[in-house]
């Protein structure tokens, strides 16, 4: 009973955080056509900013989470204007820029904070107990924040004008521009949102797990898996793939070793993609 409940909570934590990061990655990919390999590094840096503010400078932890999201969002604005816009539509050169950003961010963290593993204190310390069951309050709060943010994002994409403009651009850039949508402004918005979502996930995951300068690589991989498996340009697909991968990651280690479980997960993804290259819900693309 206890084990089942904890597994369910773990599934929800992992899937909601994966989806948060992957949603931003998918925005950048479908709107600007950029494979942002620096997304994991941005996720890592936001955790470290939160650590610096909350632990070193002893600010309120929720305030430092907020400030970290704002800072990383502003960094997203900078990225869009000076790193992605000059290379619009040239995948090779944006990959080079992304690698340069990864190197700069990781080196900066190494130089300033150091390579030792750090950890953020829990946002909500304590354990909830009812009867036989006890649950970490931290994880519940993480699920709640992640879930509400995701609901807000879906509402934003489906219902607001800006969200619909984003959808229009992801379907056809030229057609959207002909309708009077400012492509650059929407790209900037997408970039800020992507970085902000990654920042929220980075801070929350930093409090549950540890911070290390190289934790971005794992998350980047998960984001790639979600976006490709779910299907490019499909928000529902990302949610579905997020639950699938979150469930695999949270339950398989109960039965087999960590490396074997990763290998099985990757094998499943490759098999799915060989038979359905466009992912579960993706549309056909050239």
């Amino acid at each position: 009973m206890q084990l089942t409940l904890i597994t369910i909570i773990n599934v929800l934590v992992l899937s909601s955080m994966y989806i948060l990061v992957a949603l931003g990655f998918a925005f950048l990919f479908s709107i600007m056509g950029i494979l942002n390999f620096a997304h994991g590094a941005i996720y890592m840096v936001s955790g470290y900013i939160c650590y610096q503010l909350a632990v070193e400078w002893a600010l309120n932890q929720w305030l430092s989470l907020f400030l970290s999201v704002i800072l990383v969002g502003a960094f997203g604005l900078f990225l869009e204007k000076y790193c992605f816009r000059p290379f619009f539509g040239n995948l090779n050169r944006t990959i080079v820029v992304c690698i340069a950003i990864i190197i700069i961010l990781e080196t900066t963290v190494n130089v300033t904070v150091g390579t030792l593993v750090r950890s953020l204190p829990a946002f909500v310390p304590g354990i909830l107990r009812t009867g036989f069951i006890s649950v970490s309050a931290e994880k519940l709060v993480t699920v709640m924040i992640g879930g509400s943010l995701l609901a807000a994002m879906v509402w934003f994409i489906r219902r607001t004008k800006l969200g619909q403009q984003m959808q229009a651009i992801s379907q056809d850039v030229e057609g959207a521009a002909l309708q009077g949508i400012s492509v650059h402004r929407i790209s900037a918005l997408a970039c800020v949102l992507a970085c902000g979502l990654a920042a929220v996930a980075g801070c929350l995951m930093g409090a549950i797990f540890n911070l290390s300068p190289f934790m971005g690589g794992h998350m980047l991989l998960k984001a790639l898996e979600l976006v490709i498996l779910g299907g490019i340009g499909s928000v529902g697909g990302i949610f579905f793939a997020g639950f699938v991968i979150g469930t695999l990651d949270a339950t398989l280690p109960l039965f087999i070793g960590g490396a074997a479980c990763e290998a099985i997960g990757i094998g499943v993804i490759i098999m799915v993609l060989l038979f359905r290259p466009q992912g579960f819900f993706g549309r056909e693309a050239g």
């Binding site: 820029v97 790639l224 490396a259 990757i266 490759i270 993609l273």
Partner: protein, 329 residues
């Protein structure tokens, strides 16, 4: 006019082999000039990575972008290292074994992957590369992937690095000549046709999947060779040399040098491996140098370093025209 153009082409025909021969001669005289074992080591590593990057570019001429190349290097490395370390096989046997295993796996995945194109191909091969790394972890007992496999038997039983230097120089020259011939023979032309339009290519009777598997096999063979040679030269393997970031770094070497020409990956690898070594004194700030090189090249030179002479020429031309206009007015 026609004569002039012909003579220019003839001159180019002479210049290119001249440059290659000059570079090889200078490199073979290099150990006489520089005695430091450290720098000899850096040059040997550069040779190994040049084989890997040039084979990567050979695959990309067919329009495939495999993001698993470092994983194939890892297959070559571990398959060469494990029998040699645990069963005492000779390195001269295990290096070709590693290369052939990498080629075999390349062929095996080549057929199902030939269904995929462009972005999907890149993504599936990326996941394949990660999967290979996880398989190394699963066979922890043999590969010791977490802590690093050490104590691999050396290729040559010498303490000096100079024999290694000549061995790797020779190996690089042989591999690059084969890959050069491969690219500019009929098969290479066919691959370029597939890259430009796979529909037109298959409409004139080219068996597209077969050629794509063929080029993948050739690329994987050479990268497996470089991985095996790396394992027996460095004598220690760590999984971080073969993960996603390592693959992306191999791509960086190709893109910075210029993906459009054969010399591109050679120049790019030489620059990105050797230049940061000059600045070793900066310790943990060294990665900034690599990042700066990447950013400068990507913002200033769209064709990569190989496009630099043309870029300078066009700048000079523009400058001259401006001056001419200035004089006229």
């Amino acid at each position: 006019m026609v004569e002039k153009r012909l003579s220019k082409r003839n001159r180019k025909k002479l210049i290119q082999p001249g440059i290659y021969a000059g570079v090889i001669i200078v490199l073979s005289l290099f150990p006489l000039w520089i005695k430091s074992p450290y720098w000899t080591h850096i040059f040997i590593l550069t040779f190994i990575y040049i084989i890997a990057t040039v084979s990567l570019r050979t695959i990309t001429i067919s329009g495939q972008f495999p993001l698993a190349h470092a994983a194939f290097m890892g297959i070559g490395g571990y398959v060469a290292a494990i029998p040699s370390k645990w069963f005492g096989w000779s390195p001269w046997l295990t290096i070709p074994l590693g290369a052939i295993t990498a080629m075999g796996i390349g062929i095996l995945i080549g057929y199902p992957f030939a269904r995929l194109r462009a972005m999907y191909y890149a993504m599936v091969s990326l996941f394949f590369g990660i999967g290979v790394l996880q398989v190394f972890f699963v066979f922890q007992r043999w590969t010791n992937a977490y802590h690093g496999l050490t104590g691999i038997p050396p290729l040559l039983s010498v303490t000096s690095k100079v024999p290694y230097y000549y061995f790797f120089l020779g190996l690089t020259v042989v591999c690059l000549s084969i890959l050069y011939r491969f690219e500019f023979c009929r098969i290479g032309m066919t691959l370029k046709a597939i890259e430009q339009s796979h529909l037109v290519a298959s409409s004139v009777g080219i068996n597209e999947p077969r050629y794509r598997v063929l080029v993948l096999a050739v690329g994987c063979f050479f990268v497996g060779l470089s991985g095996g040679a790396y394992a027996h030269y460095v004598r220690a393997l760590s999984y971080t040399s073969f993960d996603l970031l390592a693959t992306l770094w191999l791509f960086m070497y190709v893109l910075i040098g210029g993906i459009g020409s054969f010399a591109g990956p050679i120049v790019g690898t030489a620059l990105l491996v050797i230049v940061p070594e000059f600045l070793r004194g900066m310790k943990e700030f060294v990665p900034y140098i690599s990042a700066a090189i990447l950013l400068i090249v990507v913002f200033v030179m769209p064709e990569g370093l190989v496009g630099l002479p043309q870029l300078v020429e066009s700048w000079m031309k523009k400058h001259r025209e401006k001056r001419a206009v200035h004089h006229a007015s």
